[in-house]
Subunit: 103 residues, 2 copies
């Protein structure tokens, strides 16, 4: 009964979109970017030319899934990657079989 109960379900939806996965890639490479930085780097490095609003909405989805944490500083808003929700979503279907002893 956590407060964040429904959040694990949001992680899957957040990861469903290719653009959002690119954003996570970008944050892995360079953490703490602003919205404009992400827009620019997605456009130049990955050839994605989306509007600022589109990226902003994607970031909102990632933040709702707790995959991205934000900290405000003046007129800037920095986005930090949080990989914690990724560690438990897969073990849900992995059997508790011992990894050793397979003759």
């Amino acid at each position: 009964m956590h407060i964040l109960s429904g959040m694990a379900e949001d992680v899957f939806k957040a990861l469903a979109d290719p653009t959002r996965r690119r954003i996570l890639d970008e944050l892995v490479e360079r953490d703490g970017q602003t919205l404009f930085e992400i827009c620019t780097r997605l456009a130049t490095k990955h050839g994605l030319s989306l509007s600022r609003q589109a990226i902003s909405q994607h970031l909102a989805v990632l933040e709702a899934a707790d995959l991205v944490r934000t900290r405000r500083q003046g007129r800037y808003k920095f986005h930090d990657l949080n990989t914690a929700p990724l560690e438990h979503i897969v073990t849900r279907w992995l059997r508790p079989d011992p990894p050793e002893g397979r003759p």
Copy 2:
């Protein structure tokens, strides 16, 4: 440059739907079920009353993502869970940082 290159992208889309995740839960608990078995158990145990076609289409998506393997036997078609695609989709964003040492 595998033949199955585009399939990793399908895994995320396959996991995006709650019903499909329920189906995976069901197959973890009991592998090798038929379509009707899955329909029945989803209806009774989880309260999901979807049409047979809906479940069939969900299984097709899971099979396209290689999360479910099927084997035909007479008029029955058994569905087996395949967790292999789940093991590499998360490591993409996990930094190689040591998990210890957080004062």
